[in-house]
């Protein structure tokens, strides 16, 4: 039966090749879109998990200013606070190359709020790191540095400080290309040096982050903080979550619309292809009936034919979607659906694929295609054959 189905399909190359091709393209597009949103959602979720419960900024008129770190003492008096950290990060523009480096300060012996940074830092040889002012940089940044070095080799970089003096940081490590980091223009250095480069005083930081002991008390704690620091911007983690969600629900709405559009095209094409079942296939079915095939036998044949096309096209489309996302990093598509504030588009996005997505897509495409084909085949297998064959 399978053999026969293959032969019949191959005999109808003119019809089946374009059909398979369209099928593959649509599966490819929808799979790419869906896997991409899933992955982006997952990434933001993971990034959010790394965020502190409460963040305090010194924000005025929409701009962030350094915040004085001595308020930490005052905050620690509030009941229910687990820990307080000052964080230092910000962009540095060198005087060459149109480039923003993201400087993040970390505490070599302290607790680092960001788990990704924590992970990178634990891999570093700290004693050599502390010998002389050093930094860890991302792979992308390292490559840019190399372009500007005359010797094809570089082991340090000079930052210009506010007072126009130079400050040299040695490159102590390069972050693995495959590591999931926020930016590939990243400089990780001792919090002390980060302050220097970003022009902060010793008693200043970018923000103060707070974790609470009991998440139920977070609103009371925030009220107290607002009371104490009426001029500061105080952000709750869940607010952050909501704003991320808002951003994505808009995007996923767009995505949903596009997927729906593609899907309906697919269904329409399938239905169109099948209802306009040509005389040849109708005659085929009639001949089979005339030589003694039962309706069941005919449906089995049509099922086999449809399955061959559907499974082949689905797997091809789905696999190419994965390859496209993995090796081309979703070029083009990702620009449409992400905002560079969240995810640096120079960065590879990590692909999250779960069984649920795979099977939903599989059922969606393969089953609807087979089903439509079977219904149509059933219709012609049960109509009277006598007129067709004479």
């Amino acid at each position: 039966m399978i053999n026969f189905a293959f032969k019949l399909l191959l005999n109808e190359k003119k019809k089946n090749i374009p059909l398979t091709f369209i099928f593959i393209i649509i599966v490819f597009l929808i799979s790419s879109l869906i896997i991409l949103t899933n992955s982006l959602n997952k990434i933001t979720q993971l990034q959010l998990e790394n965020q502190p419960d409460i963040t305090i900024f010194n924000q005025k008129a929409g701009r962030n200013y350094p915040i004085l770190t001595d308020i930490k003492d005052e905050i620690s008096n509030i009941y229910g606070i687990k820990n307080i950290h000052e964080r230092v990060y910000g962009f540095y523009k060198p005087n060459f190359h149109n480039l923003d480096m993201l400087i993040i300060g970390f505490e070599p012996f302290g607790i680092n709020v960001d788990k990704n940074i924590e992970k990178i830092v634990t891999d570093v040889n700290l004693s050599s790191f502390l010998e002389k002012p050093s930094m860890i940089i991302s792979h992308g940044l390292y490559e840019i540095f190399l372009q500007y070095s005359t010797f094809g080799y570089i082991d340090s970089f000079n930052f210009f400080l506010e007072d126009s003096t130079k400050f040299k940081l040695h490159i102590n490590g390069i972050i693995d290309k495959n590591l999931d980091i926020v930016s590939d223009r990243l400089v990780l250095t001792n919090i002390e040096y980060a302050k220097k480069i970003l022009g902060y005083h010793d008693s200043e930081a970018t923000d103060i982050s707070i974790d609470v002991s009991n998440i139920d008390e977070i609103d009371t704690i925030i009220l107290k903080l607002k009371d104490k620091f009426p001029n500061f911007l105080i952000i709750k983690k869940s607010d952050l979550k909501d704003s991320f969600k808002e951003l994505y629900s808009f995007k996923s709405g767009l995505l949903f619309a596009i997927s729906l559009l593609l899907l309906s095209t697919f269904l329409l094409l399938t239905i169109f292809k099948s209802t306009s079942m040509d005389i040849k296939s109708i005659k085929e079915i009639a001949i089979l009936k005339a030589i003694g095939w039962s309706i069941n036998d005919i449906l089995k044949l049509k099922l086999t034919e449809a399955s061959i096309i559907a499974i082949f096209s689905f797997l091809t489309g789905f696999l190419s979607a994965i390859l496209y996302l993995k090796y081309l990093h979703g070029a083009f598509l990702i620009d449409i659906f992400t905002n560079s504030i969240n995810i640096n588009s120079n960065i590879k996005i990590q692909i999250f694929l779960d069984k649920f997505t795979f099977f939903s897509l599989f059922f969606l495409f393969v089953f609807s295609f087979i089903l439509i084909n079977i219904i149509i085949a059933y219709k012609s297998a049960t109509t009277n054959i006598k007129e067709i064959l004479n």
Binding site: M1, F4, K7, L8, N11, K283, E284, I287, L288, K289, A290, I291, G292, W293, S294, I295, N296, D297, T382, N384, I385, K386, L389, N390
Partner: protein, 216 residues
Amino acid sequence: MINIENVTKVYQNGFEALKNVNLKIEKNGIYILKGVSGSGKSTLLNLLAGFDKPTTGKIELLGEFISKLPEHHMSKFRLQNIGFIFQSFNLFSELSIYENLQIPLIPLNLNTKLEKELIETLIHKYNLSDKQHQITKKLSGGEQQRVAIMRALINNPKIILADEPTANLDFNNKMIFLEMIDSFKKDKIIFISTHDDIFNDIVDVKIFNINGGIIC
């Protein structure tokens, strides 16, 4: 054995194509249904093959009342007992002779060896061995009709029905057709509708005339 009793066929538009047909065939051999165009030959053959049901009356084939048989039983009965030959051959034109002969065997799920044996014996018997892997659309009309006959024979049915099988053939191929049916007339009932006079000359045939839906 074929037994047609009081069969009428009224088409949906009210046209009565068969009027109280009675016909009994008990022995193997060649039977010719002769009549002009529109006399009801194809209508009767379609009823015999179970492609259509009579409006009234009974049709009994090999002891089975096929006029009452539901579709899934009918197809099984047809697979085992009826071979049908069309005027326009109705082969799968892109498939080879061998593959065309495989098709009626697919629902039977035979093992490959037995299948091969059945097909090759038949192809050999009717002298198409050297062309067995050629696709049928490249064969001559006569050869195509031979393949169509072989396809009707492959399941070794007791009854062969043929609707104007010689209409598309030249004289030589008509003679070959006659030779072919002659070779299996001893153990089959061969029921042929035609207006071809070539069947008049063969010995041992019984001819029914049909006119305006009435056998006379």
